[in-house]
Amino acid sequence: METYRKDMDVAGIRIAVESERPFCFTERCTAFECLPGEPDVTFFLKWDTQPPTAGEVLYDSSKYQILQKDGRRYRICRWDTDRKKIEWYLCQTSREPVCYEVGICQYNRGEVYAFNPLHCTDLAAFLIQFDAAVLHSSLIRFRDKAIVFSAPSQTGKSTQAAIWEKCYGAEIINGDRSVIRRYQSHWIAAGSPYAGSSRIYKNEAAELAAIVVLRQGKKNTIRKLETKEAYLCLLSELMPSMVNREAVDLQSRWLLELLKQVPVYMLSCLPNPAAADLLYRTLEDRNHGTK
């Protein structure tokens, strides 16, 4: 039987998807598609199959259920409002190499199935296997280094990124969710297929120079955060795992390692170029060893 395969690359994590039926990536994943190579993780699509009907329910929401049975954890997605029809389920079948089985249940809409492998996973648990996590942040590249602006929604992440683009010629790589990864002894920030309302999601990465926690203020001030404050600010903006204790544990350790090597600043600011100038001068001073 013929096998169809497509690959994508997110933050240097090579993802292969294999299927016995044709499929395509969703529009945003297409930007991350790459030529087939040695994968870090493989998703096998199974068609016209069903997840187990009984097991221990670990999590239940309007759309997802997480079921544990026979030592395996199934993430089940329903597509209808009465929560009976199952769209797909995902189960990790191997840790080394990392493999997942994705059951596509009752797909008969005619068109080629559009698949986003990241969407199926508990993303935090998935990424931490590769020393990575998603930070709610906008990401810019400036002089070949990455700067991320992290804050709750509506604080001004996109605004600051846009000011840097306009005033300093920085490139906006992602408008809402960046992947931060420890990779070959460096910390990198990379674009992801998730971009919120910004619609900016480039498949680019750069070495991470600084993380900037944004707060709205009545004047522009900046300070470097101590470990605990930085930890609390960033933990609340990291995409968490809902049910995977091991992933929560690993992610919290991962964050401590990040803070040992990457400076975190708190920029309390107005949405104006002077805020960007203050950050620019602070980073310049740091590069020249004066702060």
């Binding site: 999590y59 605990k228 930890y231 933990l235 609340s236 795992s241 049910v243 204790r245 929560v248 401590l256």
Partner: protein, 86 residues
């Protein structure tokens, strides 16, 4: 006693933080800072010990009076009950 949800206890810059594993949509999602005694009591609760057992454990571990230990454990458990996590 049993916790209603799981937590990860992490030491950050000398402070002990409880990070929740959320489990359900309406689960507690805050981060709790504990002192050393609080972290000790939390570990006892995690081991599903009841209040009198925790008081005894506290008396063995720390130089406190029974009255102080009883009050510490009761206050700690009350706070966790108010947060609906115990």
């Amino acid at each position: 006693m049993k916790l209603k949800q799981e937590f990860v206890l992490r030491e950050v810059a000398g402070d002990k933080l409880l990070i929740p594993v959320m489990g359900t949509e309406d689960a507690f999602n805050g981060i709790i800072t504990l002192n050393e005694t609080g972290a000790f009591i939390f570990k006892q609760i995690e081991a599903e010990k009841d209040e009198p057992e925790i008081v005894e454990a506290l008396l063995e571990e720390y130089q406190v009076t029974r009255e102080q230990a009883t009050k510490n454990v009761a206050d700690f458990c009350d706070n966790f009950r108010k947060l609906n996590i115990l």
